[in-house]
């Protein structure tokens, strides 16, 4: 039998399969991490193709499966996929905004063996500043939260924080408490894709971040063990990079709606790499042998300061996509690191965010929708060099 680690050069098997089953979404979140050019992708995998992906992922050794999107509830075969995933032995997670979750559907998910639901809060309207007080949002989340409790799932909430809502951390936590949350993740926006387009509008100031952390700590003291609250700081406010995906091609595999397989959900942006499609290759070959998955494994690709850095085993040089987006070369150190010669790009962005008000000429906010995706796809096609 093939076991992980039998060949020191061969990577271990993946443990996490993220299935981005559709990029359709009823929401238009400005911080969305979906690719901005999703409208230029090929047709979605059909049910049988997804079932094949699930089987191959399980054979490879994946145990955690995330159904995500877009909004995964937009696929009406989600019930079929969940039931098969459970039969195969996955621990299945549904990552959803709750829009479209009816009692009939959650009953079918339970019956099929769905293990876990993560419900996200977000501004579902274009009236960003009003979203927290929007009764529509609250009523929807309340209904979904009741269904989640009724069907005996843990109450796991996720809220993405940014400049325009971070000052409402207290209200967000109170709302989560009122809805019976057991786990709350306050995830600061990370600046990829749509969020990167909107970075100057969304990056909070250092003061805002500090206040939000204080509020969170006070809240934790008050609620004690009743609720677990995680607070994820944005990369831009750190001086060491995250160990992105725990290393390229080490644990995670993402399959996108049109079947392209990626080592992380952003990697499709990287130039010079062609990622394989499950319509043409099986996941085993893709994971172990495809050039895309091997591109940034190990440390042979590293440049200085990473190459000789004692911390390279800990953070793997950070995020390849962030390095590419900010420095133009994915092999560079993630500029979040203060040892990177490009770290000033991060500190300059934070200094801009520290100004009390946004300058009048700040780039207007771009909502994640099909129209804007087509515009951004066209722009990208114009600037991509023909090779």
């Amino acid at each position: 039998m093939e076991t992980a680690g039998s060949d020191p050069k061969r990577p271990g098997n993946p443990l996490w399969l993220l299935a981005e089953i559709t990029y359709k979404c009823p929401l238009h979140c400005v911080f969305c991490y979906n690719p901005t050019d999703y409208t230029s992708y090929g047709p979605e995998l059909n049910t049988d193709e997804w079932l094949k992906v699930l089987r191959e992922g399980r054979e490879l050794g994946c145990t955690q499966l995330g159904f995500s999107g877009g909004e995964p509830l937009m696929r009406d075969d989600l019930e079929v996929l969940i039931a098969e995933a459970r039969k195969l032995g996955y621990y299945t997670n549904l990552i959803t905004s709750g829009v479209g979750l009816t009692e009939k559907r959650i009953a079918a998910f339970k019956e099929g063996g769905l293990d876990h639901i993560q419900l996200s809060f977000q501004d579902s309207t274009r009236e960003m500043n009003d979203w927290l007080s929007s009764t529509k949002t609250f009523e929807l989340k309340k209904r979904v939260a009741e269904l989640i409790q009724q069907y005996d799932y843990p109450m796991v909430f996720n809220c993405v924080l940014h400049r325009h809502n971070i000052d409402h951390t207290q209200q967000i936590l109170e709302m989560a408490e009122q809805l019976g949350a057991e786990y709350v993740e306050l995830a600061n926006t990370q600046y990829y894709a749509w969020a990167f387009e909107n970075r100057d509008q969304l990056l909070p100031s250092r003061d805002q971040l500090q206040r939000a952390e204080e509020v969170t700590n006070k809240f934790r003291e008050r609620v004690g063990d009743k609720m677990k609250v995680y607070f994820v700081v944005p990369d831009y406010h750190s001086n060491r990079p995250k160990a992105c995906m725990n290393g390229w091609g080490s644990l995670f595999v993402t399959v996108t709606s049109d079947g392209v397989v990626l080592p992380c959900h952003e990697a499709r942006m990287l130039p010079g790499l062609t990622f394989p499609n499950v319509r043409e290759h099986d996941l085993k070959w893709i994971w172990y042998d495809s050039p895309g998955f091997n591109a940034y494994r190990g440390d042979a690709w590293m440049q200085e300061p990473c190459r000789t850095c004692p911390e390279k085993e800990k953070d793997f040089g950070g995020c390849r996509c962030q390095a590419y987006m900010l420095t133009g070369d994915a092999r560079n150190a993630d500029p979040v690191c203060d040892l990177s010669p490009f770290h000033h790009l991060i500190t300059e962005a934070v200094e801009k965010a520290d100004r009390p008000t946004l300058p009048p000429n700040v780039k207007p906010i771009v909502f994640r929708d099909d129209r804007n995706s087509r515009l951004l796809s066209a722009q990208k096609a114009d600037t991509t060099p023909v090779t």
């Binding site: 992980a4 098997n13 621990y91 876990h116 796991v156």
Partner: protein, 99 residues
Amino acid sequence: MGQPQRIAFDHDAPIEIAKYYRFQWEPAQDCHVILYPEGMVKLPGSSGEIMKRVDGTRSLNGIITELEQQFPGVDLRADVVDFLEVAHGNGWIRPKAPR
């Protein structure tokens, strides 16, 4: 998950796998595992053998009796108590919930 913490419980009451956790054999790891939201713990060798018996009918003492019959002459008690108290401290197992 933090530091493993031992939490004692009634050694004669039936115990079960806690809600939201799943225990299963994992061919790719060649061992038993505990799965939970976004995570996995491997339970190789004896830990898997012990956990296999946590099924809502057996108590800690019941599990020890059974293992001692299967592996005569081996003093397993301390290991089983250690492991199950850590498992309880981690929230993987619990006294069987009343129906």
